[in-house]
């Protein structure tokens, strides 16, 4: 176990993606270690979403490789896996929390079924046990258990995001991708969600790759940060170091603008 902790969970090698002639992201390299939270920050068009989609195999990149260390210790290039294997990863060992709940939830089926879906996909065939697990997870994400049979379209935005998290974590994934999970939420609702994510990361030892344009979110959640601009990583390091002492002019600008907004 201790040996595993020393090896990267995800190893990204020279990853590039082009949409035809248009650059999505270029020459991205990094390692993600178990239990680590990495924030990818940048403005829209910086390539951060393209990168996230490549890492999560939603897009197969033009060039490069990403090695993922499975539960048995083997390290496989994601893009050499079959689509079936990729999809199994996505619904078992990984999670993906979307910015818009409608992209990450089934809005017309109950909260319980939303949480239970992955279990059923893995072959769980005991209704009572699936329901008990769903109740357990609703509690963990601070949703009242008596809402288990309600459809998420009747939930507030913050509850919907918490439900998305429960739906993803029910299979105990090791790596969770998050795409602007607090986007569109009120500040107080954001704060509660961020607290919840921090608590779950600590309790479950999750690794997270979170894409955000919000440096405050990055500072609160992440151990390391990667700043992207025009498809390239221009600066990366420990979050506190990068944000307290940015080397690149662009990062300085980003940091100063948030300080400005904050003051």
């Amino acid at each position: 176990m201790s040996l595993d902790q020393d090896l990267p969970l995800l190893s990204v090698k020279n990853l590039s993606h082009f949409y035809g002639q248009h650059l999505g992201c270029k020459d991205v390299n990094f390692d993600l270690y178990p239990g680590e939270v990495l924030a990818i920050v940048g403005e829209s068009g910086s390539g951060k979403t393209t990168l996230l989609n490549c890492l999560s195999t939603q897009i197969i990149p033009t060039d490069g490789a990403v090695y993922y260390r499975g539960r048995k210790g083997q390290s496989d290039n994601l893009y050499e896996m079959s689509e079936a294997q990729q999809r199994i990863l996505l619904r078992t060992d990984w999670g993906f929390v979307r910015q818009h709940p409608r992209d990450g939830l089934r809005m017309n089926v109950s909260a319980g079924a939303n949480v239970g879906e992955r279990l059923m996909a893995l072959g769980d065939r005991h209704y009572g046990k699936i329901r008990d697990t769903a109740l357990d997870w609703l509690e963990k994400v601070e949703i009242q258990v008596d809402r288990i049979d309600d459809a998420p379209r009747t939930f507030s935005g913050g509850m919907q995001q918490r439900l998305q998290i429960a739906r993803n974590l029910v299979t105990n994934p090791r790596l969770v991708f998050m795409d602007e999970p607090t986007g569109g939420l009120d500040v107080s609702v954001q704060a509660r969600l961020l607290d919840l994510i921090r608590r779950l990361v600590a309790e479950l030892g999750l690794s997270i790759i979170i894409v955000t344009h919000d440096l405050a979110v990055a500072r609160l959640l992440s151990d390391r940060i990667m700043v992207m601009k025009d498809g390239k990583v221009i600066e990366q390091g420990l979050t506190d170091q990068v944000l307290d002492d940015p080397h690149q002019a662009y990062t300085q600008l980003l940091v100063s603008s948030i300080l400005h907004v904050g003051s």
Partner: protein, 300 residues
């Protein structure tokens, strides 16, 4: 074609209406469906001289498998005499001139909209289903590209989501027709408007079962002796509809699929076999139910 035929009056239609090329195309789709049980094969469905919802998919399948020596039976619900069944039977009487029957045991091809006959089907028989919506995942995943992928990769968690919702809402699996089945452990299939009562009859049936969806342009098939298992949960197992302590008012049958018939304004009712041929055959063999006129006669 012989000179003799050519000089005779030209037939109004090709045998069974469809031209031979179309039939070959549909037969290829059927063969593919038989080779991959439960898999929905796309086919270039033709316009038929009847509206969708009248079984155009089933009619095209029947037209493609029908030969001159076949004996055809058509049922809607369990009856041979409803408007839909009669119009399809007339269509084939006119275009194919095949022998028609209402007796399940005599038929070589049976086209149905809902029911599977009560009498066990045999090796020499083919059952053709008229299917409105072939895609069992449709109700939760409207994207065709995604459902196709789910079938390809055997990702069927969604089907159980539907059954889960049933139990969460009603306390039990409330789906009573179009109840999803797993075919040969590989493809999830929608038996279409058939009541779940008939699902067990699909399992390892001796007859060939063909499914045609006209509007959706899909054909699928169950070759004889195919495993067909109704999906469920361990703690909510699949059950069929039951009418405890009920017998057919006309033929006295028990354990069959019943239609309820309201007798008067006072709310009196009776139950009769939904399969009218089964019921009539039993009566002709001397089985009589309590409301049968002959029964009263016999009692006197």
């Amino acid at each position: 074609m012989s000179l003799d035929q050519l000089t005779n009056e030209a037939p109004a239609y090709n045998f069974a209406y469809l031209d031979e090329q179309t039939k070959r195309m549909i037969r290829r789709a059927i063969l593919k469906g038989i080779a991959v049980p439960g898999y929905q094969v796309p086919f270039a469905a033709r316009e038929m001289p009847m509206p969708y919802g009248w079984g155009t998919g089933g009619v095209q399948v029947t037209a493609s498998v029908l030969g001159e020596s076949d004996i055809l039976k058509v049922i809607d619900q369990g009856a041979d005499d409803t408007t839909n069944a009669v119009s399809i039977r007339n269509f084939f009487a006119k275009t194919a001139n095949v022998e028609l029957t209402t007796h399940t045991s005599e038929a070589t091809v049976i086209q149905t909209r809902h029911r599977i006959p009560e009498e066990e089907l045999q090796e020499h028989q083919t059952l053709v289903y008229q299917v409105p919506i072939p895609e069992p995942l449709r109700f939760l995943e409207p994207r065709e590209t995604e459902t196709r992928k789910m079938h390809a990769l055997s990702e069927y968690g969604l089907i159980h989501v539907k059954l889960y919702e049933d139990i969460a809402t009603h306390g039990h699996i409330a789906t009573t027709y179009a109840y999803p089945v797993m075919v040969e452990g590989r493809y999830v299939m929608d038996p279409s408007p058939t009541p779940k009562f008939d699902n067990p009859k699909m399992h390892k049936s001796k007859a060939l079962q063909l499914f045609g969806a006209g509007r959706e342009k899909r054909i699928y098939a169950l070759p004889p002796h195919t495993d067909v298992v109704s999906l469920d949960f361990e703690d909510h197992p699949f059950t069929i509809q039951e009418w405890p302590d009920t017998q057919c008012a006309m033929c006295g049958a028990e354990g069959v699929y019943f239609d309820e018939v309201i007798l008067d304004d006072a709310g009196n009712n009776m139950f009769v076999c939904s399969d009218s041929d089964y019921c009539e055959t039993r009566q002709s063999e001397g089985h009589l139910g309590p409301l049968n006129a002959d029964y009263k006669e016999r009692m006197q």
